[in-house]
């Protein structure tokens, strides 16, 4: 392959396939990701869709890279535009070195591209209609051209098709293979011959990696933690948790059920939790609002429950397919009255797995609601991760009593006052353990009580449980230069963006460090200590009110040290964009510093 000499080795490439919803952009990206993964590269994919079944602009983005990246890169190397709108919507992500493959069936490429961008025009739609009689096949034709451009071999592309389409039946596979052949033919016409693409593929023995979304990782974490009851009502972007568990949980003797609404969802899970079964629900903002009454009930009745909130843009029904982190207030302060809760925030699919195991154990141990703060990007984007280490996690049973213990003690009180404020649980069916569980204020027996002395004692028992928990809640992860005076704090899908923006900043001479809090509530000492050690901390959030920053200040962080970087337009941050925002702030700081110096 001497013709490949001089072409860059594929080490970090960002590809967007865009068109109308239903055009098959996601299919192309999914197959590309699968394929490049088998070549030993890591991949990360993102989807940008409208909340509708077909039509409307839809884009899928993939990044293939040789190292560790947890987000889409700052500029797009290759745009596959299946229509004019796809070019217009995505041009801002391109630069002078970008390549555009454009379906010109509907007209010439719009003049919005940056100078220098190379365009390959080809009428995929027209060819599909003319030869295959179905528009449906245009993405398979495009796949042939894209594969060639990425320097992939025809045979490898064919194998990927066979793997992907076989499960849909032989006829579908054959039609798509035919379309792929049309794509190769078209590439030849454009002078993009096999092995002569833009890149050389780095041949490495592929490491064994998983390709998985945050939602699927949460589902699996729950299962491994001994979770055996899940229910939910379909809502974007949480539905894959339900779908994954419906497939896998019954195989382990568990139940995953789709309920008639979110109210039934949380209450059915509560019913299961009452029997001692580890239970979880998953939802998104609007559904989470509906569940609030149940959340408070878990707090008052000391019922263990894991609640996953895959946050999307709000308020109200907002933008269902867009990422946001604007339900933090509802997780931390939601529900009426005072009750303890724990909020965990994973930053990557592997984190989703391990923190869901923790969440499930913690709910059982502290008999309270435990939330997992996800966001749409974390929930639905696909990433390569190390295979989950099952030996590294364990399901730790909560404080239980069996019939023998009760018989020995001669007494059983569901809400007994204890040293650690946790009352042992007797599962229904245990002789002697009969008890009452209620959201009403109750005495140790579970009987309704409004006695003021009991009230205060019972209230303190519940609230103090969490004080003790602080020492064993998941701690933050630290990255970057540990002597840097400028810090970052951010959760969820911002994890990967911040890590990469830090590299950009370092190139600009700005040294930074990053703390990824994995427990958002209660706020742990390590987070406050981090803020203390920095001169200023950029708290990056996908919301308009700086909810995380407010929570930190509420818990003792110095507000004078915090600079909010907020984004709520529904579009995920790109690293360069974040770095630019920080540089802007830093510039202002320098100016302000000079001004202050003058004033003195």
């Amino acid at each position: 392959m001497s013709s490949n000499n001089g072409r860059p080795i594929l080490e970090d490439v960002n590809v967007i396939v865009a068109g109308q919803g239903g055009d098959g952009s996601l299919t192309v990206i999914t197959m590309l990701a699968e394929l490049l993964r088998t070549n030993g590269l890591n991949v990360y994919t993102e989807r940008d869709v409208l909340s509708r079944i077909r039509g409307g602009h839809a884009a899928a983005t993939m990044r293939a890279f040789a190292g560790d990246r947890y987000c889409i890169g700052s500029s797009i190397n290759l745009l596959v535009a299946l229509d004019e709108e796809a070019v217009e919507k995505n041009a801002r992500q391109l630069d002078s070195r970008s390549v555009v493959v454009y379906d010109d069936s509907g007209g010439p490429v719009p003049s919005v591209l940056p100078q220098g961008a190379i365009v390959y025009s080809a009428p995929f739609n027209r060819i599909a209609m003319r030869t295959m009689r179905r528009e449906l096949y245009k993405n398979s034709i495009a796949f042939g051209v894209v594969g060639r451009l990425l320097g992939l071999e025809d045979e490898t592309l064919r194998e990927t098709f066979i793997k992907h389409f076989q499960r849909m039946g032989q006829v579908i596979l054959e039609y798509n293979l035919e379309a792929l052949g049309l794509g190769f033919h078209l590439a030849d016409e454009k002078g993009i011959h096999e092995g002569e693409g833009l890149y050389r593929i780095k041949k490495t023995a592929p490491e064994k990696r998983m390709l998985i979304t945050g939602n699927e990782s949460v589902a699996f974490g729950f299962m491994v933690a001994g979770g055996r009851f899940f229910c939910g009502y379909p809502i974007t972007p949480s539905s894959e948790i339900l779908e994954t568990l419906q497939k896998w949980l019954p195989r382990c003797g568990g139940v995953a059920r789709q309920t008639e609404d979110e109210l039934a969802g949380i209450n059915m899970a509560i019913g299961a939790a009452l029997t001692g079964t580890r239970a979880m629900v998953a939802t998104s903002g609007p559904g989470f609002s509906l569940m609030q009454e149940g959340v408070g009930h878990c707090g008052s009745g000391e019922i263990p429950l894991v609640i996953v909130d895959c946050q999307r843009s709000g308020p109200s029904t907002g933008m269902p397919t867009k990422p946001e982190q604007s339900d933090l207030n509802l997780m931390v302060f939601g529900g009426h009255g005072d009750f303890p809760r724990i909020v965990l925030a994973p930053g990557h699919p592997d984190d989703c797995f391990y923190l869901t195991v923790d969440a499930t154990n913690l709910a059982d141990k502290y008999q309270c609601p435990v939330f997992l703060a996800m966001d749409q990007a974390l929930s639905q984007n696909i990433a390569t991760v190390e295979p989950f280490n099952l030996d590294g996690v364990s399901a730790v049973p909560g404080k239980r009593v069996e019939a023998e213990d009760i018989e020995k003690a001669g007494v059983y009180k569901r809400y007994e006052f204890t040293e650690d404020n946790i009352s042992a649980f007797a599962a229904p069916g245990t002789p002697g353990g009969m008890s009452l569980v209620t959201g009403n204020e109750h005495n140790e027996w579970g009987l309704v009580s409004t006695d003021p002395v009991n009230r205060v004692k019972m209230m303190n028992k519940r609230m103090d449980k969490i004080k003790a928990a602080k020492s064993e809640l998941p701690t933050a992860r630290h990255f970057g230069d540990k002597d840097a005076k400028i810090g970052f704090i951010g959760i969820g899908s911002l994890f990967g963006v911040i890590l990469e923006a830090m590299e950009d900043l370092e190139r600009e001479g700005v040294k930074t460090r990053y703390l990824q809090p994995r427990t958002v509530w209660p706020v742990l000492e390590d987070v406050l200590a981090f803020i203390d050690k920095c001169s200023r901390v950029y708290v990056v959030e996908l919301n308009a009110q700086a909810q995380l920053a407010h929570i930190l200040v509420h818990q003792g962080a110095d507000p004078g040290k915090i600079i909010n970087i907020l984004k709520y337009d529904g579009i995920p941050f790109r690293p360069a964009e974040l770095a630019k925002r920080v540089l802007g702030e830093e510039g202002r700081m320098i100016k302000k510093g000079k001004k202050e110096a003058k004033l003195q």
Binding site: E216, C252, M268, A272, L274, E407, V437
Partner: protein, 292 residues
């Protein structure tokens, strides 16, 4: 059972109901039926909603749960699916079950879990001082809407398997119905729906009126509870005549929710031990399915 006699657990509370309330009869009959059927207290999970009737779980020695308003059915279904070896009884009133909880009632008829649901219907909101409920007749407290009929609602579901209505003023029949309902759920045949006409003596005393209006289908010769269309026609006709049908109105056959949902090769959810040894093979399969 002897073991429990010397263990001190909570002492059942005394009912908070007004003297003469129909709910006393429901509780009395329930206790008697449970005893007669030999259901031990530790196997019983009694869940109740909000309202006067929603305090019944405080009065029985059992695993009791005071559910959120209208949410007793989903909670009961969750408990049953998690541990089908428990006897799960949901209880509540007409406001709890037919107003705020109506959606769940519909879906419980649809899914047919083996739980018993006792609705103490007094046609008003007793605990909040007598406002109109979904079953209040036109004219009660200026109520302009006609009341709903839960029996006819239940009959419209092909998956409904046990529908009965009792009257607290007829405890002998109520006892028979309650036992039949319990037998239905204990033999895992599905959802046993039992509405009990349970007059509220304080805000809407219907004792005499209902005694005059009830019509017992159990005593009607030729009434076949397995015949859905006959049940429907009979109930409609009786309603038009101003009568209230009581008795075992319908008994059908349909697979129960837990028989469709639970993996019979595994222990039920609540009986599994946590720790991944038992299912390691499935977990490895999961991981492998994402390895490509």
């Amino acid at each position: 059972m002897t073991m429990q006699t010397h263990i001190k657990t909570f002492t059942p509370a005394r009912p908070i109901w007004c003297a003469g309330c129909g709910d006393f009869a429901v509780q009395g009959v329930l206790e008697k039926s449970l005893h007669k059927m030999g259901i031990p207290p530790h196997k019983l999970m009694l869940l109740a909603g909000i309202g006067c009737s929603g305090t019944i779980q405080n009065n029985l020695p059992c695993y009791g749960y005071h559910a959120l308003h209208g949410r007793v059915l989903p909670a009961a279904i969750g408990a049953k699916l998690a541990n089908p070896d428990l006897t799960v009884i949901a209880a509540g009133g007409d406001g709890d079950g037919y107003a705020i909880g109506a959606g769940h009632l519909v879906h419980t008829f649809k899914s047919n879990p083996s739980i018993m649901y006792v609705v103490m219907n007094n046609c008003n909101y007793g605990l909040t001082k007598g406002q109109a409920s979904p079953t209040s007749p036109i004219g009660y407290h200026d109520n302009p809407e006609s009341g709903m009929d839960s029996i006819l609602l239940g009959l419209s579901f092909p998956s409904a398997t046990f529908i009965a209505r009792g009257f607290s003023g007829n405890p002998e029949q109520l006892e028979r119905l309650m036992e039949a309902a319990l037998d239905h759920t204990e033999s895992r045949k599905g959802f046993a729906f039992l509405e009990v006409l349970s007059p509220c003596v304080t805000y809407y005393d219907t004792h005499r009126e209902w005694r005059a209006r009830v019509y017992n289908v159990d005593e009607e010769e030729g009434y076949d509870p397995a015949d859905r269309s006959m049940a429907f026609q009979r109930c409609l006709k009786l309603r038009d005549e101003g009568r209230i049908p009581i008795g075992r109105i319908f008994k059908g056959v349909h697979p129960s929710l837990e028989s469709l949902t639970l993996n019979k090769a595994e222990l039920p959810p609540a009986q599994q031990k946590v720790g991944h040894e038992g299912h390691r093979e499935q977990y490895d399969k999961f991981i492998n399915s994402y390895m490509g």
